[in-house]
């Protein structure tokens, strides 16, 4: 993974000093709350329902064991001993005190971490594909390019006060999009041209929130050497012309829609001509330097089959289930990708205790070259596990209650913190997730149901990505009471789609019954090995509507 040089380290150290001084001035009354707001937000610090929340950046989801142990330390000493992995590959602590935050940031800086631009109206953490570098089908490993964009966007002097937040995701596969690039302010899909040179397709104006939009293609191929100047042109047009009169109309998607993609593109192109592209051109040497941080770990030459794995599979049917559901093929013979689900029933999706964080660090050191990745589905990837180690890895997971076998199944729910924690929420989301998990476990064989994404957001801000769930649930407020709107058919993959709203919303107690009816109807209509999404696309919304509102 990327290792800081002296300049990277200097920047995070100086950021800590800057925020320490700003916090002190705020506490002395020298900065009014409204003017401290963007300063604390650009250091990841929110005011929540009960306390402050600190969101820490995990650039494109990569963490090493040393960083994990630091997160475990922070959880224990500054939180109620747990942390929450978010839908943008970050981690949040829900109970820090403002006065302690500069110290927390200093601890983070000591392990090459920070909370820079994890909130506020600026360019946020760059997100990517959690299987970067280990998926055999990948065209380009996106991580060096993520780091390139991370550095360009960090403390970009021109784009710290944008009309609204700005999210960039980068992926490097043709047929699979695990980074949800179609629903980001900018999505970059890396590919190679005829000469094998890396470039990317640029998508713009996608997003969720109140107005969900699938992004538009603004450019089919930007060479990597010109990527930063092109991004700068897009951001400049947005900074100058994005709406600032209404925060709900301030995202770039609204500007792109208002102008139309063609007019927006010609403004960007005109801007691009005026920027000094020669100076900004990224030299091959820089790409090589960044790539050198993401080379293959020291893989052993192993056979494709493995006796000890076969024995483990014969020994334990629980292991067999976990293996089949939560581990995936690896580009390297003799290795598997293993995904640790943070979606155990009864635990808030994405939540981990301090002990579990430390356990993840130990497991990373023992089994996976000391690194893990956070996924936007709020799970944890161990990217490089020897097949021969899988059984003992799984036994260790069982010990720490991390062996839930539901990756990609309906109980692998994406869920925001909701009304239990978040001051923006209209409704609770965590209890809904739990009720659905319990119901499905009792009444269905979820492996039989196959791949289904179920996403829950506690309000229109859509942190739980409900618009792009195969089943999406949105908490709404009706005269002070919590209701839930259900939508079907969303996807955040290459075939990205916004889910269709089923109809009038339901009370909390009705939600599981509705999900039950939806799943039963799916089972009735499903043709051999169809996924939920395929069946839905074939039969449409009407049969579901009829079944639910009958």
């Amino acid at each position: 993974m990327y290792i800081y040089n002296s300049q990277d380290q200097t920047l995070v150290n100086q950021r800590v000093a800057q925020f320490r001084q700003q916090t002190q001035r705020f506490l002395q009354g020298d900065i009014p709350p409204s003017e401290f707001l963007p300063l604390r937000l650009q250091n990841g610090l929110y005011m929540q329902r009960h306390a402050h929340m600190l969101r820490i950046a995990v650039p494109y989801g990569m963490l090493n064991s040393k960083q994990l142990r630091m997160l475990g330390f922070l959880a224990k000493n500054y939180d109620k001993n747990y942390g929450h992995f978010t839908t943008r590959q970050n981690i949040q602590f829900n109970w820090p005190h403002l006065e302690d935050v500069p110290d927390m940031l200093a601890h983070l800086a000591s392990v090459e971490m920070h909370a820079i631009q994890t909130s506020g109206n600026c360019i946020r953490n760059i997100t990517s594909d959690e299987f970067a570098g280990v998926d055999a089908a990948e065209l380009v490993d996106p991580r060096p390019y993520c780091e390139l964009v991370r550095q360009w966007s960090t403390f970009h002097p021109e784009f710290a006060y944008l009309p609204r937040k700005f999210k960039i995701a980068i992926s490097g596969c043709r047929d699979k999009d695990r980074a949800a690039t179609w629903v980001h302010d900018i999505g970059l899909q890396l590919h190679r041209d005829d000469q094998g040179k890396v470039g990317c397709k640029v998508l713009v104006g996608g997003g969720l929130g109140r107005t969900p939009v699938i992004g538009s293609i603004i450019h089919e191929h930007i060479p990597i050497s010109d990527l930063l100047s092109y991004l700068e042109a897009i951001l400049r047009v947005y900074n100058r012309y994005g709406r600032r009169d209404n925060k709900y109309k301030a995202r770039i998607k609204i500007l792109v829609k208002a102008l139309g993609i063609d007019a927006f593109k010609s403004q960007v192109e005109a801007q691009w001509q005026t920027i000094n592209r020669d100076i900004m051109r990224v030299p091959e040497s820089e790409i090589t330097r960044l790539q050198s941080h993401f080379t293959n770990p020291a893989y052993l030459i192993l056979p494709a089959t493995c006796d000890s794995l076969t024995q483990g599979l014969d020994r334990s049917s629980e292991f067999k289930t976990w293996y089949e559901v939560n581990s995936l093929p690896h580009k390297q013979n003799g290795y598997r990708i293993a995904v640790v689900s943070l979606k155990a029933t009864g635990v808030a999706p994405g939540d981990v205790s301090g002990e579990q964080i430390n356990a993840l660090a130990d497991l990373a050191d023992t089994y996976s070259f000391g690194e893990i990745r956070v996924t936007h589905n709020q799970n944890i990837v161990f990217a490089d596990i020897k097949q021969a180690d899988l059984f003992s890895f799984w036994q260790d997971l069982v010990k720490y209650e991390l062996a839930t076998a539901n990756l990609g199944l309906i109980t692998d729910i994406i869920c925001c913190p909701g009304g239990d924690f978040c001051s923006l929420a209209n409704a609770k989301s965590i209890p809904i997730a739990e009720a659905i998990q319990q119901h499905v476990e009792q009444h269905f064989d979820q492996r039989q149901l196959g791949s289904i994404t179920l996403n829950i957001s506690g309000c229109m801000n859509a942190c739980g990505h409900h618009h792009v769930g195969n089943i999406g649930i949105l908490g709404v407020d009706k005269k002070g009471k919590e209701y839930y709107q259900i939508a079907l058919g969303g996807s955040s993959d290459q075939d990205a789609a916004i889910a269709d709203i089923l109809g009038p919303s339901f009370e909390q107690t009705e939600v599981t019954t509705v999900i039950d009816k939806i799943l039963k109807l799916f089972e009735q209509h499903r043709q051999t090995s169809e996924t939920f999404l395929q069946t839905y696309r074939r039969i449409g919304l009407e049969p579901f509507k009829a079944a639910v509102y009958a």
Partner: protein, 153 residues
């Protein structure tokens, strides 16, 4: 002794007095006479952050001073405007006026501003600290012509 002074005009890292801001011409008024260069070249103009200045760029480039007015400190349009003026070749003084806070100074400087008229309540001692917040930057901007990857560590 600790400097408790507030507000003021910061240029070249020191606080100075001049009466320029009082004599700046609003862009809307200046536009009317922009083509009579002889009359206007000694005067400065004050541009709003959302200014559509492009039609007047040649006349603007001849001015000794352009001020950009920040109606609200968190309106980022003035930053892009400053960079556009510098990229177009403006060599005169670029002055940030209006809701100018010490915590904006580092980014303002990087975007090409070289004079800062602080809001009256802003402490001068904090301003100098803020200008020096970071000793390195990743990106090219108005103050650092080359991005970090062109210069190397």
């Amino acid at each position: 002794m600790h400097n408790q002074a507030r507000g003021g005009l910061l240029k070249n890292r020191i606080f100075v007095n001049d009466n320029v801001s009082a004599n700046l011409i609003a862009f809307a008024d200046w536009q009317q006479n922009a083509n009579e260069i002889e009359n206007t070249k000694q005067q400065g103009v004050i541009l709003p952050g959302d200014c559509e200045y492009q039609a007047y760029i040649n006349q603007l480039l001849k001015l000794p001073i352009i001020a950009v007015f920040f109606e609200k400190f968190n309106d980022g349009r003035g930053y892009s405007l400053a960079r556009l003026l510098r990229e177009a070749g403006f060599k005169g003084e670029l002055r940030a006026v209006g809701d100018v806070l010490v915590d904006q100074l580092f980014y303002l400087k990087r975007c090409g501003f070289d004079a800062f008229e602080l809001r009256a309540d802003q402490r001068q001692a904090d301003a100098i600290t803020a200008l020096d917040s970071f000793s390195v930057s990743y990106q090219a901007a108005a103050d650092q012509r080359q991005p970090i990857y062109q210069t190397g560590p």
